[in-house]
């Protein structure tokens, strides 16, 4: 008699298969083709089925690990940084969360945001160790690398990409704003604790100040023009191109360009007026 395969065995095999396909990211390096893989791959392949299985068959994973909650409140552990290998647990968390968001779970969106924030911060810190002074930290590279580490090399569904990049844009925004505020406090005599990410200094205090001013104006833009404000987050903070933004927002390329021009003018006008 043929042995009956336990559901748990199938799960284990799937997870193993996914992990085997996970990207091998060398320290400090981003696969040159990661961008192409994300945006130019066919949307559906045989891998979609297995990833769906992983996403939906383990609802218990939706519970957010406590350590991530702690991270969200700003209590970063300075020692836990850099070149850790992709974590299978995080990868599974991300795919489960993406599926839950698609199913309308609003809590999952916040959980994904925390996970992505954590990952982006760690990646940024690892870049510090690996690169010479004066290098520019590219949000677009960080975000795409975070995708590979959290979601993997499977072909993403269109909706997954949309949710992921929206979360990434917001996470990058929070990372940069949090850091700019800490540095601002430091310059004005406040208490300051050196944290890994802050080693990525911006060239001049004026850059931080502009970042904070843009952020403030962006909040106002969001009240009147929420779609255009989202576009700014995706372009400015996550470093997406007009083409990518048009895909994520589901608008035409020419509309994306028009919105971008309008939003920049709106923000500059708002900032100059204050």
């Amino acid at each position: 008699m043929k042995p009956i395969e336990q559901p748990g065995d199938a799960m284990a095999k799937l997870v193993e298969a996914m992990q085997a396909r996970s990207p091998r990211i060398e320290h400090g390096g981003l696969g040159a083709n990661s961008h192409d893989r994300l945006f130019k791959q066919p949307l559906l392949t045989k891998w979609t089925d297995s990833s769906e299985c992983v996403r939906t068959s383990d609802p218990g994973r939706l519970a957010l690990p406590l350590e991530n909650t702690e991270n969200a409140s700003g209590a970063w552990r300075a020692g836990k940084v850099a070149s850790e290998p992709p974590e299978a647990d995080n990868m599974k968390d991300a795919t489960v969360m993406l599926a839950a968001i698609e199913a309308g779970d609003s809590k999952a969106a916040e959980q994904l945001l925390v996970l992505v924030y954590d990952e982006l911060r760690r990646l940024a810190a690892s870049k510090i160790a690996g690169e010479a002074p004066g290098q520019t930290l590219q949000p677009t590279a960080l975000v795409h690398e975070a995708w590979l580490r959290l979601v993997g090399d499977q072909s993403p569904s269109f909706k997954d990409r949309e949710h992921f990049f929206r979360a990434s844009a917001e996470a990058m925004r929070r990372l940069l704003i949090d850091r700019a505020r800490r540095k601002h406090t430091k310059r004005h005599g406040g208490g300051y604790q050196r944290i890994d990410f802050d080693a990525f200094d911006v060239a001049a205090p004026a850059v931080d100040d502009q970042l904070l001013a843009v952020n403030e104006a962006l909040d106002k833009l969001a009240l009147e023009h929420p779609v255009q404000a989202e576009l700014v987050k995706l372009r400015y903070f996550a470093g997406l191109t007009n083409e990518e933004v048009s895909q994520v927002l589901g608008i035409s390329l020419s509309t994306a360009k028009n919105y971008w021009t309008f939003a920049r003018a709106w923000l500059l006008n708002e900032m100059d007026g204050n």
Partner: protein
């Protein structure tokens, strides 16, 4: 700013397609007495003229301390 956000966007976008010397006439006509809208769009057009590289660079210059 107040008024209809969608109209601001549409009028601004259309005004950019009009040659600069014809914009005042265009706005006069399209805003049809909505002074608030006209002033808002004019302010946005002035901001557009001085955009330069605003927001085109990533917000993260980097140097290791």
């Amino acid at each position: 700013m107040s008024g209809d956000p969608d109209r601001e966007l549409v009028v601004f976008t259309e005004a950019l397609k009009v040659p600069v010397q014809e914009r005042a006439t265009f706005l006069e006509r399209i805003c049809a007495g909505d002074e608030n809208l006209r002033q808002t769009v004019e302010a946005l057009l002035r901001a557009h003229d001085r955009l330069g590289n605003f927001l085109e660079e990533p917000p993260t210059g980097a140097s290791v301390e």
